[in-house]
Symmetry: C2
């Protein structure tokens, strides 16, 4: 049974490919667009087609890019001796917004997950190894997520790059700044204790 | 400053036309589509263009429709003597899903709101009046929302149609079934008391 009309039903169904959008939200979005924002809907349609056509992967770091190299790899002012390994392009954005990091990135586009058929090839490790063999990278910073899969991936990459890269580090995990100890989960707290750092001058 | 690349930034901006989608969700949606569901993105692009092109208004009831008449107006089994007036096509869906109503609808596509420049013309009241003058409609059920604007709109329509329609009614408002009195807001409760109905046989 059609709920509205064939084109509306198809639109509602298509909107459900967006993360976090269920049948109710999809219906609300479709009605909103067709009742009140047809221009926005047309623009969104064009932007989607455009992005699908133009956005590919950076050939050096696997970040989303519209050219052979992404903006960061193409930027000669970035420190090519420093390479930060992240799981997704969104992670790059978070690090760039935090500021302070001036090196380059390598995007895994996921993490090792043998159960889902995601092995070293799928997360681009041959490309990463080739990059490390180039000799330009002097330090690798592992910034995969502090999850079981992220940790396993970081461990695998450490073993793979150890013979090639002089310095390897993992970003620090612990109590977030501004967080209250009382509300921090147990494993984070345990991590904060085991990773405690000497107070300078003590 | 570009956050990702021009096409990505344009897509993130365009996604914000969806209701309830802020900058963070738009970014998450864009990354999800380009990293993991390009086919879904292409389908969504086509569905949007399709819907914008094909979906117009029913010439009789102003509901969203792909033909001159919407599915309900075109359905000769529906009772043409009964007309339910609602604010949006979403309201029709809710009533149809509840079942039981077999008449037709008239969709205002909003409510009277002089401050936003929405007067009787904008919510299609001339069309409604012409429909009422046809003589086929015997009862009008006012199902606008129980908000200040919805009530004012219902009142205005009542005054307009009174000379033409033998029976006019407003849907009942009160404590929702399954709701607990304790958690119902004061104005609903006051409405439930003032609109109390005699118990049959008492």
């Amino acid at each position: 049974m059609h709920r509205f009309s064939p084109a509306m039903d198809a639109l509602i169904e298509a909107l459900r490919c967006l993360p976090g959008v269920g049948p109710k939200s999809a219906q609300r979005m479709a009605l909103h667009l067709l009742e009140r924002n047809r221009e926005g809907a047309a623009t969104l349609s064009r932007s989607l087609a455009d992005a699908v056509e133009r956005v590919g992967r950076c050939q050096q770091c696997r970040n989303l890019a519209e050219a052979v190299l992404c903006g960061i790899c193409a930027d000669t002012r970035r420190d090519a001796s420093l390479l930060c390994i992240v799981e997704t392009p969104g992670d790059i954005l978070a690090i760039e917004q935090a500021g302070g990091y001036r090196g380059r990135y390598f995007v895994l586009m996921g993490h090792l997950s043998p159960i889902d058929g995601i092995g070293p090839e799928e997360i681009g490790l041959p490309l990463l190894e080739a990059l490390a063999r180039d000799g330009e990278v002097q330090e690798v910073i592992l910034a995969t997520n502090p999850t079981v899969e992220g940790e396993a991936t970081a461990y695998y990459i450490t073993r793979m790059l150890e013979p090639l890269i002089p310095r390897m580090s993992r970003i620090a995990h612990g109590v977030p700044l501004g967080g209250e100890l009382e509300y921090v989960d147990g494993s984070t707290l345990a991590h904060a204790f085991s990773g405690r750092q000497p107070v300078p001058g003590s």
